[in-house]
């Protein structure tokens, strides 16, 4: 409790009246500039309450005369960014894929746009940088199931593979084992033949028998020598690249039960310009023809 307020001799300031073992506290006033700054912040806050959203109410909050919200601001920023991109997007819409690739500034824009769209939409299956995964082709190598030209890639992205879109790329390998088309011994033989295409066969007799099976059942799609057909989506079996795996067990599994990986059609989800940028980007990952 304040006991005795007295005037300090040296400074001429009053004490607070508090005393601890003879130590007294000066009641030094706040500096004027500090006080005025404090008042100014109060005045400022009143203006702020009026202009900006401030007080909670029972069903929300006061909106402020400016009507400002972070959501509106981010929407404006997005519109600005869109407007900045608009001239380029317009040019990309009109340009052909080859024109995009041969114009340095369009290519630059398409690569940057393609990279971010790829990261958002394609990376979950195809991996960062298009590195692929089991069942999802590597997009950076030189082997393509449905073709690696700019137009091929553009078509694949636009309509997808084995999906409900009418233009979707369709190709279906029969289930040679599950549907009883080939006997287990024949499947073993044809797998051995497929291994021999990439010089990995260990049983020449089986491979020889398998060649006959292959020419009767597989050549129509996978072509003579297993080189594959991008028109039919039949992978090249003579290359060292395997979507599902190139060991004998995996090959036999593929022959027995077939494979039917699917990719969505991106038309309707992404606009035309974005798909073009994506095609240019994927083409440049390293495998483009």
């Amino acid at each position: 409790m304040p006991t005795k307020i007295e005037k300090d001799e040296i400074t001429g300031t009053d004490t607070t009246g508090h005393e601890w073992d003879g130590i007294k506290e000066l009641n030094t006033p706040l500096p004027k500039w500090w006080l005025w700054t404090f008042y100014a912040t109060i005045v400022w806050s009143i203006g702020y309450f009026i202009v900006y959203p401030a007080w909670p109410t029972l069903s929300g909050h006061t909106k402020g005369v400016l009507g400002w919200t972070q959501r509106i601001e981010i929407a404006e920023r997005m519109e600005e960014a869109k407007a900045m991109r608009a001239p380029f997007v317009g040019r990309i819409e009109k340009a052909s894929l080859d024109q995009i690739r041969s114009s340095p500034d369009l290519l630059n824009f398409a690569m940057a746009g393609g990279r971010s769209v790829f990261a958002e939409n394609c990376v979950p299956c195809h991996g960062a940088g298009g590195s692929g995964a089991k069942g999802y082709p590597n997009l950076a190598d030189d082997s393509w199931v449905w073709g690696g030209t700019l137009d091929d890639i553009h078509t694949t992205i636009t309509y997808g593979i084995r999906n409900a879109n009418n233009e979707s790329r369709i190709g279906q390998m029969p289930r040679f084992g599950a549907d009883g088309i080939l006997k287990p011994a024949q499947i073993d033989d044809v797998a051995e033949y497929v291994l021999s295409l990439s010089k990995r066969s260990t049983n020449a007799d089986a491979a020889k028998r398998g060649e006959t099976v292959f020419s009767e059942n597989c050549v129509a799609c996978h072509q003579e020598g297993g080189t594959g057909s991008t028109d039919l989506g039949a992978p090249n079996l003579a290359a060292n690249i395997w979507i599902y795996g190139g060991d004998k067990a995996t090959i036999m599994e593929t022959v027995r039960n077939s494979r039917a990986g699917s990719m969505p059609a991106w038309t309707g989800r992404l606009d035309d310009a974005t798909i073009k940028m994506l095609a240019v980007y994927v083409h440049a990952l390293g495998g483009g023809k």
Partner: protein
């Protein structure tokens, strides 16, 4: 009038003494330095003029660097990420040149201080230069010391308001010019000036003019000697550079004391008998820009400007005693003089030798670094996804992002090859040319060219090696300069 004690400086006491009289905390006691004439004042004016001239005119110097680079001799191009100083051009990754320059400046300061005391503080420091300029303006408008003290004490009148307004207007004008000149170092100076006056400059430019104007006005107009005494670290550790062989502002106590007013003596009696040469006129205190009394000895607040020497010499001339009662001298010399021995000053001593040696060493390192500065650099970033790609032929391919830094003012073409991998071929992304052992990369002048390069190696070259070292070699198609970069090539390892 005996000419010994000018009436206007009778009650001059150093701020230290005034503060000692008050307990605990006291606010700043304003210093009102008196005008003075003399050798050191003239030197101080000359250095001031030189420093201001360099500051204001240097941005207008031109230096031809060809059409691809700016022609301003001294320029820090922040958007372009380059700094130019005459023939020297610094890229961001070479910022260690700036470090070297600062080290050079620091050691030069050490050496000069150990030899001649605080010449930097007294003459060349921007704080000293601008404070001196502001004081000159103040003196022109409000008058000398006594007039200013009187004006400070006077109640507000029309005259006081006019004088104060004039002074602050002039100060703000100088401050704006200071801030205005600062931004000239960051962009083409003539263009900036035109933009600033036509209202076309950027917000950033106006902001920095305002910022530096505000700091100049505050530091040179209001803070003054407080910057040196309280804010600047240099006075705090200068004691480590000084020794008794360093030139400092000294007071010859041995002949000054015992001080006292000079009384009129009877004819035939020597008025100087039994007393010192110091007539205690306090002129040295009145002219001091930091408000100290040099007769108290060496002290942190002394910036070593020597204005008290000018003041004292004038008084000594008047009373007919030898000049130099206050003088630039070493403490060792003063000890000799006090004993009547010849002075023995040593410029060369371990301290100065070490400083000079370090200075020469750092200078040599800087010079060699500048002369051997590479005009081309190569940076290689390995792609991390995918780590490697197996091609249908079985070959293994890695992708690298290549940065070619062309620091010359001409467009250049370089040959890129790799070594360390059997049968490696290179291909540039986006180019339809077939892969080859050597590819050509073009780089525009003063810029970084970025390429994505595929390195393809036959499987047997990297069989069993998950990681192989590879060196990228970059050679210009013509002219000097080459660069290399060590990276790795990843493979399945089977």
């Amino acid at each position: 009038m005996d000419g010994t004690s000018p009436p206007d400086v009778d009650d001059v006491v150093s701020t230290k003494v005034q503060k000692a009289a008050a307990p605990l905390y006291v606010s700043r006691i304003k210093v009102h330095p008196k005008d003075v004439k003399g050798l050191y004042r003239r030197i101080k004016w000359a250095v001031l003029a030189l420093c201001l001239a360099v500051y204001y005119l240097a941005p207008f110097l031109r230096w031809d660097r060809g059409p691809t680079a700016p022609d301003q001799a001294i320029l820090i191009d922040l958007p372009g990420r380059k700094a130019y100083f005459f023939m020297i051009e610094i890229w961001p990754q070479e910022v260690y040149f700036l470090t070297g320059l600062l080290i050079l400046a620091a050691i030069t300061l050490f050496l000069v201080t150990s030899l001649f005391g605080r010449l930097w503080c007294g003459y060349a420091c921007p704080q000293t230069v601008w404070t001196d300029l502001f004081m000159w303006v103040e003196r022109k408008i409000e008058g000398d010391r006594n007039a200013r003290i009187k004006l400070d004490a006077a109640p507000y009148s029309a005259e006081k308001i006019v004088k104060r307004t004039l002074k602050h207007t002039a100060w703000i004008g100088i401050a704006l010019a200071t801030g205005g000149a600062w931004i000239l170092y960051f962009d083409d100076a003539p263009t900036v000036i035109r933009d600033v006056f036509t209202g076309n400059a950027t917000f950033t430019q106006y902001f920095f003019i305002g910022l530096f104007a505000a700091t100049t006005y505050t530091l040179a107009g209001w803070a003054r000697e407080q910057v040196c005494t309280y804010m600047c670290p240099w006075p705090r550790f200068q004691g480590a550079m000084l020794d008794d062989q360093s030139y400092v502002v000294t007071y010859e106590e041995w002949r000054g004391e015992k001080r006292g007013k000079l009384a009129k003596a009877a004819p035939g009696v020597d008025p100087w008998a039994g007393r010192g040469d110091c007539v205690d006129c306090n002129s040295c205190v009145a002219v001091c820009p930091t408000g100290i009394d040099i007769r108290d000895g060496q002290q942190l607040e002394c910036i070593g400007c020597g204005l008290c020497i000018d003041a004292c010499d004038a008084v000594m001339d008047k009373v007919g005693r030898p000049r130099g009662l206050i003088r630039f001298d070493t403490l060792a010399n003063q000890a000799c003089r006090a004993k009547g021995e010849p002075v023995t000053h040593k410029f060369i001593r371990p301290r100065t030798l070490i400083y000079a040696g370090v200075l020469a060493f750092v200078g040599a390192v800087m010079l060699v670094a500048l002369l051997s500065r590479a005009t081309v650099e190569l940076n290689v970033l390995r792609d991390r996804a995918p780590l490697f790609v197996t091609l249908s032929s079985g070959d293994i391919r890695n992708a690298y992002t290549i940065h070619v830094l062309n620091k010359t003012h001409e467009p250049r073409e370089f040959a890129l090859a790799v070594s360390g991998l059997q049968g490696a071929v290179l291909g540039v992304a986006g180019s339809d040319a077939a892969a080859a052992p050597v590819v050509t990369l073009a780089a525009k002048p003063d810029s970084v060219a970025t390429y994505r390069v595929f390195v393809t190696v036959p499987a047997q070259s990297v069989r069993g090696k998950a990681s192989s070292p590879v060196r990228f070699d970059l050679k210009p198609r013509e002219g000097r300069g080459a660069a290399d970069y060590d990276s790795v090539f990843l493979a399945p390892g089977r």
